[in-house]
Subunit: 72 residues, 4 copies
DNA sequence: GTGGTCTAGACCACG
DNA sequence: GTGGTCTAGACCACA
């Protein structure tokens, strides 16, 4: 029985936080290290989740600073 | 008529803040850039003031972080 | 698709200015602060770019004075 | 009295380990995280040390794997 | 007021 | 979980 990959569930989780307003445009997401610890996943899972959210325009990564919720 | 050099007056000023408790042990001093602006002096003056306070044991510079009031 | 690092692009830019004669031997490069502002990058990127140009012999940094185009 | 920069002392240390045979060609160096912890320095210092050793041909970094002592 | 060193900690690319 | 890039901003050494 197929299960959603971990990165997809993590992406869904963060997307939900944005849609609910828990994370507002301009807010900084927890760092990748924090997300790893909070969700008990690996770097790759976090990166993949962030990546899809970036390509979908939900968040934007700024090198050396962090990942931020995009203005829409 | 001889006047105290600027760096000595600045050092006196900071030492006074420490002695009065305005700056407590472990507190971070304003950055060199801030001290320059606040007192209208050059880099050299600030550095010289910090230098004498360091050699006298009042403060301690930590590379990349800042200058801190020493424990006594 | 591979992207060149910022420091490499900056180094290429400066090297190009030297090869084109826009910057002649003995000329002073813009200061690190100016380069940061002009290219919208951080200290590290500028330093890294200057560093490789120094090791390749294109420029020479003189402490307290500036960075200069080397004689070749 | 001139003090060597931290990155240079670290580079010297590693180069010494290679010359003494403590680190043989093909051996993997400690990870950057370990080097940071072992020597109590920041990322920049470790990277700078590795960088010069790479440019001098002592070691070779392989992305995603580690840094290895080069064959000579 | 310049170049040089350094910290803390972030994201990015790769295996 | 590694190496590599990057930010912001600090002190240090020199002229």
């Amino acid at each position: 029985m197929p299960v959603k990959p971990k990165w997809e569930r993590l992406a869904d989780h963060i997307r939900g936080q944005i849609e609910s307003g828990e994370l507002a445009p301009g807010d900084q997401l927890p760092s990748t290290v924090q997300l790893k610890a909070q969700h008990g996943v690996s770097t790759t899972v976090v990166r993949q989740a962030i990546l899809v959210l970036q390509t979908q325009g939900w968040v934007q990564g700024v090198h050396g600073l962090g990942v931020f919720v995009a203005d829409r």
